[in-house]
Amino acid sequence: MTAKILPKHAMQGWIETLREHYRIIGPKPAQSQYVFGDIHSADDLDLSYPTSILPPKKVLLPQREDLFRFDSMGDTPIVEPTFDDEPTVILGIHACDMHSIALLDRVFEKGTTDQHYQTRRENTTLVSLECTTSCSEFSFCKSMGTLSVPENFDLHMTDLGDEYLLEIGSKKGENLLRGFNEVREATDADFERLNKVMSEKWSHFTYRLDFDVTELPALLSLSYDSKVWEELGDRCLACGACNIVCPTCYCFDVRDEVDFSLRSGGRFRVWDSCQLDRFAIVAGGHDFRDTRAARQRHRFFRKGKYLTDQYGVVGCVGCGRCAQACLVHISPVDTFNELHRRRVPSAAAQEEALA
């Protein structure tokens, strides 16, 4: 492993150096919560943040994103795509959110590559941050297998007290340290400190899922007709908050806005939510998920089964944001546990119980 040591007091200098070449985004306080936003100096940044309202996904897939401009005033209509290629560094991404970015990368490159996402992604450098304590009472990353950062980081930071150990994951990550001489090579003693942090952290997290996450897709398959969905549907407000705050949700709606000429304008996309009343209405007015129960089922099937079937990775990274945002206390881990508690016992288990 190649690693460097960054003293915390050098953070300001590092940010200044980075700002010469990059836009920097990182966690910062907003009201009594945290958001990912522009970082101009080390004072803006708070790497001890618990969790953010929206995940850093919003940097790669902005809430509202221009796709192209059109103009049909002249003889030949003009269509000009919009791309954002500003070199950007995201600082302090937690493990769960790194897993979600790994998933989004697969989603947006499958089939026809999404060039808007791709352009941003290529120009973005990911600096992850080791989670050493649980970020909120709602998170359950340990159960989902997402508490260790995946291999997609460019630079990975671990807090060693008054210094950060920076593990270099790519050329892009290495570039962030170029021309900055307040970092030093990590020594054996530093790696020992790292090992200590890494071995101690696990006990600060609890398993909240009552079964192994690998059983989740099968559990959902058995639970399609469960009463649980009706019960959730009765409570759910269809407010969409759970989708909007989720790092693995990627549905968007595409809209046009014209200028006053009515001949030119732009097309943009905005995040959408499968919990909303009108989400699944198709041409002709048919709504193929017209009850809240059907939409709740769909949401949890996406998180626990469909995405795993399609992309081979878990669709819920256990960040707990949705549970925190939900006014009626609907949470994935509680839902999955409830389905497990009420699961139809397999024939073998029934026989065993009878024997």
């Binding site: 407000l237 269809a238 200028d259 009515l262 009343d277 945002a325």
Partner: protein
Amino acid sequence: MSSTKPKIAFFDFAGCEGCQLTVLDALQTHTELLNAVEIVQFREAMSRSDDDYQIALIEGSYTRPSDEVRLQEIRDQAQIVVALGACAHLGGVNAVRNAHRLEEIKNYVYGEKAEVYEAASARPISDFIQVDAFIPGCPIDREEFVRAVKSLLQGNAPDIPDYPVCVECKLRETGCVFLYGKTCLGPITRAGCGAICPSFGVGCEGCRGLIPNPNMASLREVLSENGLDEMSVKAKMSLFLTNQIATSDMEA
């Protein structure tokens, strides 16, 4: 495209004229509006008054039997009738009075002169005439108004959100006011205002009206869990939603 600009007229019924003021604001920030349409009647802004118009934007609620006649006249003339703002769209704050006996209210407000004044329950204008489009809010949102005018010019119905305020609130990363011990009608209220109230730390009062299929029972539980007693819930929901809740409770 025809060279004659569509003629637009503004009308006011019972309301505070805040929506018309927002239109005036919009005319100043989006001067292209004036090139795109011809305003033939707008008491708030000009003395000219011409009864030849295609699009009528009506502010204010129905509050007197004689309003029906005037509404009908406008409907007969206009090709497109738009309800402008919460009063025209929902009955507005005026509808708070609907919960009381009309005679009591009249005596309370007009005292001895109660018999001189005409009054009825406050209703949305769509209870009396066919309304082709509505621009919700108390007051209306300037940007939404501009977009709505463009849609009408294109011959489309304005694209008014049918999802709740919570969506916009989360999109702009506002801390939910429930976390700060306050209450909010965002989960049942139509978005489009950019969740402006929560962004200033106060709960939504529902001025843009209910979303289609709101989960009223569940929201009532949330409000009670967060400390509102039955009276307060009722009061909160009567500020803008009196007429809609009467209907949705009847359906429930």
